[in-house]
Structure formats: C-alpha cells, structure tokens
Amino acid sequence: MASGLHESSFANPVVRWIDQRMPIFTMMQKEYGSFPTPRNFNYFWNFGALAMINLVIMIATGVFLAMNYTAHTSLAFESVERIMRDVNYGWLIRYVHMNGASMFFIVVYIHIWRGLYYGSYKAPRELLWMLGVVIFILMMATAFMGYVLPWGQMSFWGATVITNLFSAIPLVGDSIVTLLWGGFSVDNPTLNRFFSLHYLLPFVIAGVVFLHVAALHITGSNNPLGIDPKGPQDTVPFHPYYTAKDSVGMIVYFAVFAFLVFFTPNYLGHPDNYIPANPLSTPAHIVPEWYFLPFYAILRAVPNKLGGVLMMFGAIAVLFVLPWLDRSPVRSMRFRPIAKWLMLLWTVNFFVLMWAGGRPAEGIYVLIARLSTAYYFAYFLVILPLLSKIERPLPLPESISRAVLRGGGPLRGAAAAKPMEKA
C-alpha cells in the first residue's frame, strides 16, 4: 500500500479506494455502524434522529418554495397562494413546510424534555446540552422569520410586536429596531432581510447540529437509567439496533405529520394569516404561533416591558446554566423521588403557560401566567439547586445490563449483540 493511505477494512474496491484516500466510510461505520450505544433506550431517544430528519425536510421543501416565492410586500401573499394553486404539488410542499415547523417544535420540545427528565444535561454532556440550546434559539429565530414571509396579517403584526421588543433595551434599543426593520416601520426591507435570514439560518442550524452530534459521539448517549455503560454487556452497536428502533419512531412521526398535512393543514395556523397584511388595521388579538406561546405568556406576565423581555429571554438563557444549577450527581429522575414530581409539575406548568399565552392578557389569565412564570424559574433557580443538597436519591442499579435484561442474567444476550454482517 502506498504510504499516506488510510488503512481501510472495506472489501468493495471502489469503496476501499475512496476510503483509503478519505475515510468517510470508516467514519460512518464507526459513528453510525458499530458505535456502542446503551442498550436500554426507550422511545424518547428517537427524537434526536427525528429532529435531524425534520431539519432535512424543512430545508428540502424550503428550497422549492423559495423557487416560487416573491419577497416583496405587494407580491408575497399572492405568490404564496400561487404556490398553493398553480405550482405542481405546491400545496403539498407548502403544507409540509408550514406544518413541518410545528412538527419540528413538537419533536424538539419532546427532545428537550427527555434531556430534562433523564438528566442528559449533566456532566460530561454540558457542552452537548448548551449546543442544543443554541439550536433551539436558532430554530425560534428561523421559525419567527419564516412566519413573516407569507405577509398575512399575523405575519405583519407578529413581526411588529416581536421586533418592537428590542426597543426595550436601554440606549441602543431603538437603533437595533431600525436595523431589524431596515427603516422606520415593518416594511419591504424587513421582509427582504427576513427572507434572506430565513434561508441562511437553517444552514447555520445544520452546522450547530453537526457540532451537537460531534459532541454526542465523544461523551456517548445518556440513557433512561442515567448511569454510564460499564462494558460491552451494557451497549449494543448503533446499527442495526437503533437504526431499527429509530425507524419505528420515524414511521409514527411521519403518520402524525401526514395527518396534519393532509387532513388538518391549517389547524395549527391562524386564520388571520390568510388576510393580506394591512398596516392600517390591527387584528383584535395578536397571537404568535403555538410554539412561542409559553414564552409569550412569560413576556406578558411582567408589567414592565424591559422586565418582560429579560424574563422571556431569561427563560431560555437559564437552560444554558442548568448543568451548574442542578448539582445532584444522579441524572435520571427515576432515582430522584422528589425532583421527579417537581419536574413533572414543571411539565404541566409549561402547558399552562402555553395555554395562558393564547388567552388575552387580562383578569385571571394574568395571575395564572404570573404564577406559572414564577414556577418555571423557581424550578431551575431554587428547586434544583436546593434538591441537589437535601434530596436522598434511590439506590442506583449496578449496571445497565443488570437492570434491564429479562431473566436477570447480567450477561445473557450480550454475546448475541453483535453488529450485523455488512454487505
């Protein structure tokens, strides 16, 4: 073998020739083939892969939409309806993209919840978790700007309300808003830059996803028990075990997605967005998309504008420091008798916030939103740090294989867990 070539284990001459010069096949085999993965994942561990698929779907449909979309205030609304009517399968592409945003947030919220419940944010996965939070923020920015593009009433007024939030920042706030708008109101320059950024950010997301996965492959995955694999009896190769399990989740995901797209395509949207944007007519209620409602509720729960904006951004920023707020060495809530219930309460509370965000900011709704906001932050800032000190966790199992294998034999079946023969 010529010097400088990678030593490849592939037999196929073409694959081998490439692999010797650029070992991507070796890398794929290592990272997605034989990659040792805890054997006890439940279906919550599907959602990372599902989010990846969703990103690909969004980029693919988005590219085709962009071929037919016109980013101009006087043409945008009609160009979207032209896609719906005159572009071949344009309705399908647009409804997949539109509902794909909702699916993306459903998937990512469950993915984040999984991390919170099973303690995936704890050492050694802090950076992995923080990269995930970065992806979440980028997703929210992308989704927000995407919702502006059809230039309906909610597009316009949502853009007006959200960009105006930045004016609460002292000193530079107004300049930032002018910069975002490209002028002195939400208008054509705003639409143009939002379109540009909406096309750009998904590729930034893809880049951070790469880092997220790279970090994951250093630390390895967490698992429902939250304990580290202690040897080969605790793991199975990623392929075929988790490719098969992820496939099952993927089909269910596609079924839910298909139901939304084909039978209730506008259910998660707002009717007002089928009214062309009109700067002279404000809708009775300006409501963001459902996935922003919890944060919208937090924003409105605070009587002071700057305070509300800080709390809203703080609600996400707090996730960055979560690994250092929760000092309990036990990852999985299964072994944390108190934290488990308070975490589930936090989950319910998140839905309460979502509900409150969709109600008008008046009367009892404000009080509910305030109490829920208080619990949202208290869980991270008070409960978790405190429980780290006082909670007595349940005894952890000796190993994954002892805990999860049927029949109790720690090594039973482990010998059979060999990677499938590759073609």
């Binding site: 009517r85 919220y109 028990l225 298909a258 009717p271 459902w290």
Partner: protein, 270 residues
C-alpha cells in the same frame, strides 16, 4: 430487582410522548375567542376527514357569487380556467370568460384596450382599486373572497351564518350606526354589507333547486370553500393512501425491529 418489576415503563413512556404531542396539538384550541359568538354548524358534503365537494352545489354557489356577490367582491386569485374543476365544461367556462371585458395592453399604439376574457384571465374585480371600492361602498372595503373561508374562524359555517344572520329591525338594546346593519354572527354585530341574499327567486338555478336564502347561503359558502381550497379532494385522497402505506410500513418496521432486538435478548425493560 425493582426495575424488572416495571415492564410497563416502555408503554408509559410512549403514553407520555403521546400526551405531550396531543397537548401541543390541543393548544391552539385554547386560543382566545373574543366574542364567543356561537356559529351554528352547517352540514356540508366536504365535512369531516373524507368529505368531497358536491359539483352541483359548487356550480349553484358560483352562480350566486356571479349574480350577487361579484357586484362588490372580487376573487382575484382565481382564473376562469379554474371553473373547469367545479364540473363546468370547457366551452361553458370559455363562454363565462368571454362575457367579461378584461383590460389588456398596451397595444402597438401604446394604448390600453378591452377585450373579451380568456380562460387564463383572473376573475375580473368589480373595482379597479381599493379606493374605488371604498368610494362606492360608503367607505367600507368589500374583502376579496378568494381565500375567505380560510381567513375566518369557522370557515364555511361562518360564511353561511353571516349570510342568514341579518336581523331587521335589530333586537332591542342593540346600537346600529347609520349605514350599518345588524348581524348576529358578525364580530361586534355591526356590518357595513347590506343583506346580500334577499329571498326566494333572487337567482334562477338551472337544476331546479329552490333558491331560498338558506340554500343560496349554503351553496355560495360551499363554492367559497372550494375557491379557498381547490386542492382539498386531491389532498385527502393522497392522505388516505399515505397513511395506509405508513400503517403497513409501520407494522413491517416494528416486526423487523422486534426480530433484530430478539438477538440482543429482546426489548430492554426500560
């Protein structure tokens, strides 16, 4: 071992995941409804998950639009050629298009001119611009109806209710400003549009259906639903096929997954 006594864990996890996604899906249902006006449910052929359009109803609805609504409301996103989808033949649609004078140009002399409509023309709007529409309508702008059922909570039900929801004289205690009309189902109850459907015989249906106000309101709201969602039937047909396909593929995938995991001692008790 305590962990092995919990074989329901997997199911529980699935249940939690389902609850999470259902909760998310249910969220917009909790959206603010300011006026809480109850819109009566009208039964349409396109109701439910598998409903389809009734071509006869759509044609009657188009007739109502053409002879009544089109005096003030445009449908600028539709072209005459689209009318072939409601079961009209090409010569019929061509004749409809030709009955309108469409502005075209400029010609070789640099002048705009009018010519009979073609299949490819968009529906002619009743007013050249919004200002002209307002001027002719006491300051109110009749909205374009192309996507109106998608743009209103309640869709076709709301349009039907609105068209039959006028009360003259208004109920005691209701204030109605000069030039406005009382409508039970319009948010705020004051609508600038005078009652458009005035009663029996306003249009002559070719198929012999009796043109009562309720019938005309049903027909035109069905037509407007088609106009807003012309892809509805193709979409649902494709959806049924794809979901059936996914159910079968899902069963196979699950069987494959079980078989593979059997090699590792079966599903872990998680």
């Amino acid at each position: 071992m305590p962990f092995r006594t919990l074989p329901m864990r997997g199911l529980k996890a699935a249940a939690v995941a389902a609850a999470l996604s259902l909760g998310l899906l249910a969220a917009p249902g909790a959206r603010a409804q300011e006026h809480e006006i109850h819109i009566p449910d009208t039964r349409y052929s396109f109701d439910g998950l598998f409903g389809t359009y009734d071509r006869g109803e759509l044609q009657r609805g188009f007739q109502v639009y053409k002879e009544v609504c089109a005096a003030c409301h445009g449908m600028r996103l539709l072209s005459y050629r689209n009318l072939r989808d409601i079961g009209l033949s090409e010569p019929e649609v061509r004749a409809i298009a030709q009955s309108y004078q469409i502005q075209d140009g400029p010609n070789d002399n640099g002048e705009m001119f009018e010519r009979p409509g073609r299949l490819s023309d968009r529906f002619r709007s009743p007013f050249p611009n919004d200002a002209a529409a307002r001027a002719a309508n006491n300051g109110a702008l009749p909205p374009d109806l192309s996507v109106i059922t998608k743009a209103r909570v309640g869709g076709a039900d709301y349009i039907h209710a609105l068209l039959v929801g006028y009360e003259d004289p208004p109920p005691a205690g209701a204030t109605v400003m000069e030039g406005m009309h009382y409508n039970k189902y319009f948010p705020g109850h004051q609508i600038a549009m005078p009652p458009p459907l005035t009663g029996d015989g306003q249009v002559q249906y070719a198929d012999g259906t009796k043109a009562t106000t309720d019938q005309m309101a049903r027909d035109v709201s069905a037509f407007l639903t088609w106009a807003a969602e012309p892809e509805l039937e193709a979409r649902r047909t494709m959806g049924v096929r794809i979901i059936l396909f996914l159910v079968i593929l899902g069963g196979l995938t699950y069987a494959v997954k079980r078989k593979i995991w059997a090699r590792a001692g079966g599903d872990p008790v998680t």
